[in-house]
């Protein structure tokens, strides 16, 4: 480790100045052990530059994406099931720069969270960490059993995930920095699709 003397000085001062130790509160009671609501998730996504699609199979995912994004923009995905539509990109996975022209990126996600519309992704699902940020439009795919109500359940569900990088992604990138006027498509994707794969109940 670097700056040993600064490290020692800081830790020594903390020890000298810190207050008495206090108990850690229990927070486990906040988890409700219920499933999240598909209808609520869909409604939440609508408010954050996202949209939910219930689909039966990968063919439907592909055709929906093509319908939402017609034209010859590059589609890129590390998912085996959609490799047939993925554009030819220099497959140097370590360099996000090669993804700069991706129109639509498609990734698998572990689950979605109803209370905020976010999906949880980890680096092993992304191919390259830059993908869900550098593409112009993002699509994420979850299973119908992968809808959780709140972040409490989310952190329990993801507790065992081995990752080097993970992210909650809630809809499209956005900003309201100019006079509180909401604009979708700041530096990340301009829109987001969340596909719920499986039979499921009608919305």
């Amino acid at each position: 480790m670097e700056n040993t003397s600064s490290r020692e000085a800081i830790l020594a001062k903390v020890r000298r100045n810190k207050p008495g130790a206090t108990a850690m509160p229990d927070i486990d009671f906040l988890e409700k052990n219920v499933n999240g609501s598909l209808a609520k998730l869909s409604a939440m996504l609508d408010t954050i530059g996202g949209k939910l699609f219930q689909v039966n199979d990968w063919t439907e995912i592909v055709s929906t994406i093509r319908a939402q994004h017609p034209g010859d923009g590059t589609i890129y995905s590390p998912i085996p099931e959609v490799q047939h539509i993925t554009g030819q990109i220099n497959q140097d996975e370590f360099d996000g720069h090669n993804l700069a022209n991706v129109e639509v990126g498609i990734v698998k996600a572990h689950f979605a969270v109803t209370e905020n519309g976010a999906v949880w992704v980890t680096d092993d699902q992304l191919g390259n960490r830059a993908l869900p940020f550098i593409c112009q439009h993002l699509a994420a795919v979850i299973g119908e059993d992968d809808i959780l109500p709140t972040l409490h359940e989310a952190y329990t569900r993801s507790a065992g995930h081995q990752y080097q990088y993970g992210a909650f992604i809630a809809g499209a990138s956005k900003t309201a920095d100019i006079e509180q006027s909401l604009v979708l498509g700041a530096h990340g994707p301009r829109s987001m699709m969340v596909f719920v794969l499986g039979k499921g109940e009608a919305l």
């Binding site: 000085a9 800081i10 509160p25 993970g166 992210a167 604009v183």
Partner: protein
């Protein structure tokens, strides 16, 4: 340390000369407070969450050294470099060294109030390193050569026409264009080029987890991630108080943070950085810069619970009507006013007095910092340390003498009423600050005591 020419009251007076603009600033920020109210009222467990967050933070402060060591150990095991900086200068030097070691002279930065506190951008500029702020609001104030006026909404003080002019001058947009959509798109294109070409990215840290050594960065724009994932080296600057013990605690803090800040249930991105990607480097700089001193102040150490949401600024009726720049500190508003005197009591002696102690701030604070009580206590400390102006001391001593003696009090009261009645011009003039915008009260014929003596039997 810096000595200010003007204090908060004087700068606020200037701010209030343009009443329309004050109304606009006030209403915009009140609207953010209203969005917060709407969001938090959707969670019946909101007050429970606040309570838990406060307790967790108390637990952290009570064992801060243990959590710091635990975090460092886990971060190192994850392949992350950990640096320690006792003050702003040391922090800045570390950043500079990391860049020059790799012959880098251009860096992209996402929002970090800590780096504002350390004056990093200016330091690096003096040493030949270009820094581009990638958060839209921060890029705007950077182009305007100003400091952010709010920790979450950096250019809340700027109108879209002004931003349009800035972009026309610096980014080539057509003159007179002020549409937020158009301007944001312009910034998107401009900053995309920056993300794609910078080899170094610096981010802040919203939360660092002792249990796992990972840290979380929250943005709506995606700029922290664009910078970090495309760069060769990711530097994360963090105040030592940003630790939380366990990963699951993020459930509590992330549910509180953005609802408090903007009324959203969560920011678009909550990125959990654990290990660098293959072939890249990740560095964390743990910064003290006065935090350990604050930790030792029994009355003020709770201010270290702060998660930098800005809710206190949005709710503060004084902040809304004076603007962040009138506080002359990286962090303005109520929380700034209890943090700043610890850094430099003389320079910031005005801040704890820039308040009516209404208490709204303490009650929106997601981690239940007793801000208004600390403002009161800082006033006592500042006066006791001799930093109150001499005139004020004399007035207060006179007040003490008058109010400690029933006879003196009655005499002064009667004199005041008689003066208002018979020589109002002595009071109703420009030397009397009350009189600038308000009429003086009408003097009654009798005080209550006099009425009581004539209307009730003396007991």
């Amino acid at each position: 340390m810096e000595k200010h020419d003007k204090d908060h009251a004087e700068l606020s007076e200037v701010f209030n000369k343009d009443e329309d603009r004050v109304n606009w600033h006030d209403e915009t920020l009140w609207w953010v407070r209203a969005k917060r109210d709407k969001a938090v009222n959707q969670l019946p467990e909101w007050e429970t969450l606040r309570d838990l967050a406060s307790q967790i933070k108390h637990n952290v402060l009570g064992s801060l050294d243990i959590y710091l060591e635990q975090f460092e150990k886990n971060a190192l095991a994850n392949g992350v470099h950990v640096h320690w900086a006792t003050d702003a200068e040391e922090h800045n030097k570390i950043v500079y060294q990391l860049l020059t070691e790799k012959s880098i002279n251009r860096m992209v930065k996402s929002k970090s109030m800590l780096t504002e506190e350390c004056g990093l951008n200016d330091y690096l500029a003096e040493h030949g390193i270009e820094v581009i702020d990638s958060d839209l609001g921060e890029r705007i104030v950077q182009l305007a050569k100003e400091h952010p006026s709010h920790i979450v909404l950096p250019c809340i003080h700027k109108k879209k026409e002004e931003i349009g002019e800035l972009f026309h001058e610096h980014l080539g947009t057509p003159a007179g264009v002020s549409d937020p959509q158009f301007l944001t798109e312009t910034a998107r294109q401009h900053l995309r080029e920056v993300f794609l070409t910078r080899r170094a990215a610096l981010t802040g840290v919203n939360f660092a987890i002792a249990e796992t050594g990972e840290f979380v960065v929250c943005t709506n724009e995606g700029n922290a991630d664009m910078g970090a994932h495309l760069a060769d080296i990711h530097i994360a600057s963090m105040g030592i108080e940003k630790l939380i013990p366990e990963r699951k605690h993020l459930g509590v803090f992330l549910r509180l943070l953005t609802r408090s800040a903007t009324g959203q249930p969560i920011t678009t991105y909550s990125s959990h950085f654990k290990s660098p990607a293959e072939g890249k480097e990740m560095h964390i700089i743990l910064v003290d810069n006065g935090r350990t001193t604050q930790l030792g102040r029994e009355d003020f150490r709770n201010s270290l619970k702060c998660i930098r949401c800005g809710a206190c600024m949005n709710t503060c009726p004084v902040y809304r009507r004076s603007g962040g720049h009138s506080y002359q500190n990286a962090i303005a508003g109520p929380i700034g006013s209890i943090l700043a005197p610890n850094l430099d009591m003389e320079a910031h002696a005005d801040l704890p007095f820039a308040s009516t102690l209404c208490g709204s701030c303490s009650n929106v604070c997601p981690v239940k910092i007793n801000i208004h009580e600390q403002l009161y206590k800082w006033r006592q400390v500042i006066v006791q340390s001799g930093k109150a102006p001499a005139g004020k001391k004399m007035t207060m001593k006179a007040m003490d003498i008058t109010l400690s003696s029933p006879g003196a009090y009655r005499f002064a009261g009667k004199a005041g009423r008689l003066a208002l009645k018979f020589i109002p011009f002595a009071v109703n003039n420009n030397l009397n600050p009350w009189y600038k915008h308000r009429e003086m009260p009408e003097p009654p014929a009798q005080s209550f005591r006099e009425w009581y003596r004539s209307n009730r039997n003396s007991k």
